[in-house]
Symmetry: C2
Subunit: 134 residues, 2 copies
């Protein structure tokens, strides 16, 4: 069911420093910061040859990653995103297996403009998993 | 400098359950468990179309992931691994930029039989980063 690893998201406490580090020290292909007010984050995409890293930085008062950074002041790996061909079929298969979908259980439009769902970390080895329909 | 994302490693508290979940619920291509006594882990490779997930489970009394699982009983994303062409050149560039290399600072032979280094998470946004020469 799951396909490619679409991205690994890393929450960072200092976006400028993280951008400089990935661009200059690690020599990666780092994009420009993109504010995503609907998602409460500023995102920087790092394009690797086979997948992407997304740096996440809080935007606005109710950022969904503010709590994560409060618990992890140095930052940390926030989630991984697997691609699926049919997100509703994926959701139904996961629910039938007893996995919990975060939020309403209905796909939302994610940071890439595509339907996404997040799965409960306690059901997935402590890892927050995003599914994105591609 | 960094190339492909070689893998994402997830430490799991119950390897059989994690294998069943990735194989049956998530429908992924999951390999057989491989004991790696030199590294203190049992590893299961999950082959995605563009990269790998590695499930890590403690092996032996001094497993390097025992402490992580004690702090994260449900498991969690343990590290990400970037490929580099020349690990000594990568190390020297990182050291010159002030990044700390874990351990002796000399590459060791990693779980894939290739030279690896681990970088200090506090220098990399709270994310444990492995570099592997490929």
């Amino acid at each position: 069911m799951i396909g490619r690893l679409n991205h690994v998201a890393i929450a960072v406490p200092d976006l400028e420093a993280a951008v400089a580090q990935y661009r200059e020290t690690l020599g990666a292909d780092v994009g420009a910061p993109l504010d995503q007010p609907d998602h409460g984050v500023t995102v920087v995409f790092i394009t690797l040859p086979n997948t992407k890293i997304e740096l996440l930085y809080p935007l606005g008062a109710d950022s969904p990653i503010a709590g994560f950074l409060a618990k992890n002041p140095a930052g940390g790996i926030h989630h991984i995103c697997y691609e699926v061909a049919d997100i509703l079929a994926a959701r139904d298969r996961l629910k039938a297996a007893g996995a919990r979908i975060l939020g309403s259980g209905e796909p939302k439009t994610g940071a890439h403009g595509k339907p996404v769902l997040f799965l409960h970390p306690k059901d997935f080895n402590g890892a927050l998993v995003e599914l994105e329909q591609v």
